[in-house]
């Protein structure tokens, strides 16, 4: 498998080092200010980590489970909130019913 061309190996879609398809993409070097949304999601992640509810490893795994097209489309913290939600449901911290009810109200 190591002789295969780098791009022919079965890499996970988030495993981006050296991937040919992105080599010609320019880097947006401009500063992008964080929004209230961004800061809040970040803060929630820290609190969940500090309280042992969800580790950073679980956060990453949840992000990696996002389908490729959405992974590339969604913003950074939009991926985070989805992973957080996914993990809270998987851990039974919140239920699907609770989530639907809360969404209906928001």
């Amino acid at each position: 498998m190591s002789d295969a061309q780098p791009d022919a190996r079965p890499r996970a879609m988030h495993d981006l080092g050296g991937v040919s398809r992105f080599l010609c993409e320019g880097i947006d070097t401009e500063p992008h200010a964080l929004t209230e949304f961004d800061r809040t999601v970040d803060a929630i992640r820290q609190i969940l980590g500090a309280k042992g509810v969800m580790s950073v490893d679980e956060l990453r795994r949840g992000i990696e489970a996002i389908p490729e097209a959405d992974y590339l489309r969604l913003s950074y913290y939009e991926k985070w909130i989805r992973s957080i939600t996914d993990n809270l449901l998987a851990r039974g911290v919140i239920t699907q019913a609770e989530l639907q009810a809360a969404l209906a109200r928001c």
């Binding site: 498998m1 780098p6 079965p10 890499r11 996970a12 495993d15 080092g17 050296g18 679980e58 990453r60």
Partner: protein
């Protein structure tokens, strides 16, 4: 314990093909040969932490690789990556 200067090969293994997993060994290093720079410490296995499973504490190493051995079009230089011991085979 792997000592500095040890030549190692990263296992050419692809758990991604066998089901849900969380791997912190980049794809571009699988099957590649590198040199151990130093032991960084011992840390719990993220592959298990990611699934809230009991996680073994494993030695973590800083390992150096040559980019041109991975991608012929790469510039000269070095890539250094943190890798856990089970992924490294001493040569």
């Amino acid at each position: 314990m792997l000592t500095p200067g040890t030549t190692v090969r990263v296992r050419d293994d692809w758990p991604e093909t066998r089901g849900p997993c969380h791997i912190r060994t980049p794809h571009y290093l699988r099957g590649r040969t590198g040199t151990v720079l130093r032991h960084l410490g011992d840390f719990r296995n993220p592959e298990d932490l990611a699934f809230a499973r009991p996680a073994a504490t494993l030695p973590l190493y800083h390992v150096a690789f040559t980019p041109q051995a991975i991608w012929p079009d790469a510039g000269a230089g070095e890539i250094v990556v943190e890798l856990f011991e089970p992924w490294l085979e001493p040569l």
